[in-house]
């Protein structure tokens, strides 16, 4: 379990990243949709890793816990990517 200070820093960082995502929607999406897409989804992934790693204490758990979650994520990617590609 991390300190209250670290939890607070993570919260502030998560809120800041969210603000960046919102700002991108205003300033960049019209000019460069797919660049915005990549950055916004990448930032959501970073936020997810922060929540899972510190708030859910995944960093402190046995690595096998991470593998369970990763198995689920891989399943979703396989299903979504495979299904979407199959129709191209």
């Amino acid at each position: 379990m991390a300190s209250v200070k670290l939890y607070t820093i993570i919260f502030v960082a998560l809120a800041a990243i969210t603000t960046v995502q919102f700002t991108l929607e205003i300033v960049l999406i019209e000019e460069a949709y797919w660049l915005t897409f990549g950055i916004v989804m990448g930032l959501s992934t970073i936020k997810t890793l922060a929540v899972a790693g510190w708030y859910m204490h995944m960093l402190e758990e046995p690595r096998a816990i991470t593998y369970i979650a990763m198995a689920g994520v891989l399943g979703v990617i396989a299903l979504t990517a495979g299904a979407a590609y199959s129709m191209t």
Binding site: T8, A15, V51, P62, A69, G75, A83, M87
Partner: protein
């Protein structure tokens, strides 16, 4: 186990959470569904006696075919295997029970009631008619006969209940096998049946989550009139992808336990250890992984592109290779051993032969060009019956094999062999002719006249196959009352732990703490708990061990709640299909204030009356009044209730009963102490509850991932950047999503702080941060309600306006439902923290952490909904 009535009492079977009792309940119930589905099969074969049969009308034939498939695949095959899993896995790994006994009982009752819901659907105008695959668009109301709409919906909701049962069971078995193995029992050394169950529940955990996503979307199309599976931009293909992503692993989910049983039986009756045991296990694990990358071979005749067909042809051929290894391992074990031709062995061998034929004919279907010919023909019917029913045949062998262990009595060997002969001949008479007349079109009862003789042979085989089971029922029933008692093991060369204890096993399972630390199974009498016995080892080497039982701690309990919770699910399932769309959500809304009131009442009963309990009861009244006000606004209070039909009230009763029972099960004192001195690799430093929560979340990742993936899939077909411009709203603001992201992140922060201060023993701060988390969730919902009001009411953009509306409202709505569930749990946590829980006990504080895992997951889901539904 003082609180469990004797087995002669009916009450015992209603309240039991003991794994052996639950196993027996699964066994009897799955055989009941076998008989129902078997009678439906005989009706199909009678219809097929000649082309254009007249026993059944067209619609009735379609319903019979569909229900036969659904009942056999879902309600017989897997549950039959899990009867043995429930009974045997704890015994084989040296555990006293499953990790979560109440959850296990709930799995069983949900299973039973889900099956009854499906059967009830026959009497609600007719059940589903589109085959067990429920292909779109024949699965949506627009393509269903109006008279059968309610029955169709009930069948789908029954499936949702069944998947819920399976998910609970998967979490339970995974936690048990990983965390509760006897000292010294390494993962690689667990018996092959338990190993097969472990791999099966891994597949179940992920595959059934995809089916749950599919059935939730389908339920929504039925109940709320969303447009997922009627959408012209790949709606039908979406169903096919979701269904077969589940459906192909399902083949191995059904077959793996049978494979494990076969391996155990062949080892015992060959008198030698399985040849290549390590490679056999690796091959099974490989198949479990590969099973998730072959699903599109069921879709070669759809509009998927040629490159993906080629890829999936290769993966399909690839998955047959590990099976070759397993089959050769079984054959070579028999060749190297001295076979004893007992009934269980005959069934195992018969199953292997049947499976080989089923497997080979399946490879034909994996080849794109051949599949173009065979798909939709009786080749497919014959092939999958050879595969699926081979699993059933192997498990019948398992029933004979473990019958003496479960009952303490030996069956009649002669009758067992007669059963095998009739069953084997009947099975092959039934299904082999289907290969010969494979050009018969599937799912219809018209075929060329030249095929008639072979179909009549198949029908005769069906009746012979069915009759053979009458011999089994007679044999097993009579043997129960015979004097052929058995001791620990009636078989020579058994190796797993269940054969080292008396038959049937005592309620505490073992005469001491099982331990493999010495390299063989011992039952240890721990000095710390039995009054100081120094040397309590009792060698077993096949016989019954007699060691002191002074250390036994009762961990099984009786509980009415699993039955009652599941009963509420049944009432909802059979009622909801008849409710008009505008009424559907109201029964669940009305259940919420009742839940709050029940929390107060049960809390006062269990924890002693406190102000928080009074507050809950008092607040539930204005909450209910507010909802009645909302109902009045929507339908008119008097007119609304007067105009609601009986199914509305049935669903309302089910929902309120659910509210009562969830409050009850939450407050029930039900301690299941985690055993010490167990093998828990690779989860040594996590508790059972935490591992259970994580495995559940693993499944939930697939569930929400599939829901989000469904939107992505349709949006791809639609044109990614054309998506929102084509939606029917005038202006959809980003800021509600932004605010809700801040709010949810803040609530994740506060729930972490609640855990921190619970660990530090601060009552005030624990309560404060739990309450702040609740407040954050409330703000989230208020903001969402404002946003939905703007879009839905003011701009007229509804969930039925277009596919964007369907995906937006349903996906964010299901997320909101998760938030509401979290708030209900928070109310429970707040009340318990108020009366002394969590902050006064360091271990107890982990309950807040476990809830936090769920809450953070809900947060993470939103982190992807925000960009996908608001920004991009």
């Amino acid at each position: 186990m003082a609180d469990l009535p004797p087995r002669s009492s009916v009450k015992r079977w209603l309240v039991t959470t003991n794994h052996k009792d639950i196993g027996i309940l699964y066994l009897i119930t799955s055989i009941f569904f076998l008989v129902v589905a078997g009678v439906l099969a005989l009706l199909i074969r009678l219809q097929m006696l000649e082309s254009g049969g007249t026993i059944l009308g067209g619609a009735e034939y379609n319903q019979v075919v569909t229900a036969h498939g659904l009942l056999m695949v879902f309600w017989f095959l897997s549950p039959f295997a899990f009867a043995f899993a429930n009974y045997l896995v704890p015994l084989q790994i040296g555990a006293k029970d499953l990790a979560f006994p109440r959850l296990n009982a709930m799995s069983y009752w949900l299973y039973l009631f889900s099956g009854l819901a499906l059967i009830a659907s026959f009497f609600q105008g007719g059940t589903h008619e589109g085959g067990w695959t429920l292909y779109a668009p024949l699965n949506v109301p627009a393509f269903v006969p109006r008279v059968a709409e309610m029955g169709e919906t009930t069948a789908v909701i029954g499936l949702v209940l069944f998947v819920t049962s399976v998910t609970l069971g998967s979490v339970n078995f995974l936690t048990t096998i990983y965390r509760m193995r006897a000292e010294g029992l390494r993962m690689r050394d667990i018996p092959l049946f338990s190993m097969s169950i472990l791999l099966t529940v891994w597949m179940m955990l992920f595959a059934f989550a995809a089916l749950l996503a599919a059935t939730i979307l389908l339920s929504s199309d039925h109940l709320l009139a969303t447009q997922y599976f009627t959408d012209e931009h790949g709606g039908s293909m979406l169903w096919a992808h979701l269904f077969w992503f589940f459906g192909h692993p399902e083949v191995y989910i059904v077959f793996f336990p049978a494979l494990g049983a076969m391996a155990e039986i062949i080892q015992t009756f060959s008198g030698r250890r399985l040849v290549g045991r390590k490679w056999f296990i690796i091959a099974m694990a490989l198949v479990a992984v590969q099973s998730f990358i072959v699903w599109m071979h069921h879709m070669f005749l759809t509009s998927i592109n040629l490159p993906i067909k080629t890829i999936f042809m290769v993966t399909t051929v690839g998955i047959s290779l590990p099976f070759d290894l397993m089959v050769f391992a079984l054959i070579y074990t028999m060749i190297k051993g001295r076979i004893r031709w007992k009934t269980p062995f005959l069934f195992a061998l018969g199953a292997l032969l049947i499976f080989i034929l089923g497997g080979i004919t399946g490879v034909f279907l994996g080849a794109v060009a051949l599949d173009y010919q065979f798909r939709g023909s009786y080749w497919v019917v014959a092939h999958f019956h050879y595969v699926m029913a081979s699993g059933a045949v192997a498990l019948i062998g398992g029933l004979y094999y473990w019958y003496p262990k479960i009952t303490g009595k030996m069956y009649n060997e002669f009758l067992g062999k007669v059963h095998f002969v009739f069953a084997f001949i009947g099975f092959n008479m039934l299904y082999f002719p289907m290969f010969l007349v494979w050009e018969t079109p599937r799912r219809v009862f018209e075929f060329p006249e030249g095929f008639t003789l072979w179909h009549q042979v198949a029908t005769a085989g069906a009746f012979l196959f069915a009759a053979s089971f009458l011999i089994m029922f007679y044999n097993l029933f009579r043997s129960l009352y015979s004097d052929r008692t058995v001791d620990s093991s009636p078989w020579a060369y058994t190796g797993s732990a269940e054969w080292a204890i008396e038959s049937p096993p005592p309620e505490g399972n073992f005469p001491g703490r099982p331990s493999f630390a010495s390299g063989k199974l011992d039952f240890v009498s721990d000095p710390a708990t039995d009054g100081g016995v120094e040397d309590g080892h009792a060698a077993t080497d096949g016989g019954v061990a007699h060691a002191s039982t002074g250390h036994d701690v009762h961990m099984d309990h009786a509980s009415w709640w699993p039955l009652l919770v599941s009963l509420s699910g049944l009432l909802v399932a059979v009622g909801i299909g008849g409710i008009p769309a505008s009424y559907v959500l109201w029964p669940f809304a009305f259940a919420l204030p009742f839940f709050v009131a029940f929390l107060g009442i049960e809390g006062a009963r269990q924890d002693g009356r406190a102000r928080i309990h009074d507050l809950y009861v008092v607040l539930s009244v204005p909450f209910l009044l507010a909802l009645l006000g909302g109902f009045h606004f929507h339908h008119g209070l008097v007119d609304g209730f007067a105009g609601a039909n009986n199914t509305f009230y049935l669903t309302l009763v089910g929902a309120v009963l659910g509210a009562y029972t969830f409050a009850g099960i939450g407050y029930e004192k039900f301690n299941v102490p985690e055993p010490e001195l167990t093998e828990a690799w690779p989860f040594e430093n996590v508790t059972n509850t935490k591992l259970g929560m994580w495995t559940f979340l693993g499944s939930d990742i697939i569930l929400f991932g599939a829901l989000i993936g469904s939107m992505i899939f349709i949006r791809f077909q639609f044109g990614w950047t054309d998506w929102w411009p084509a939606a029917g709203y005038t202006d959809k603001a980003v800021w509600p999503g932004l605010v809700n992201t801040y709010v949810l992140l803040a609530s994740s922060f506060t729930i972490v702080l609640a855990y921190v201060y619970a660990k530090r023993g601060s009552r005030r701060k624990t309560l404060a941060f739990l309450s702040l988390t609740f407040a954050g969730a409330a703000v989230f919902l208020v903001n969402k309600a404002y946003e939905w009001n703007e879009l839905y009411i003011n701009q007229g953009w509804t969930h039925t306006s277009d596919i964007m509306g369907s995906t937006y409202y349903l996906t964010t709505g299901l997320h909101a439902a998760h938030v509401i569930v979290g708030m209900l749990i928070l109310l429970f946590l707040i009340a318990r923290a108020y009366t002394g829980a969590y902050w006064s006990d360091d271990e107890d504080a982990h309950t807040v952490e476990y809830f936090g895992l769920y809450w953070h997951f809900v947060d993470i889901v939103w982190l992807f909904l925000f960009p996908l539904f608001y920004i991009l």
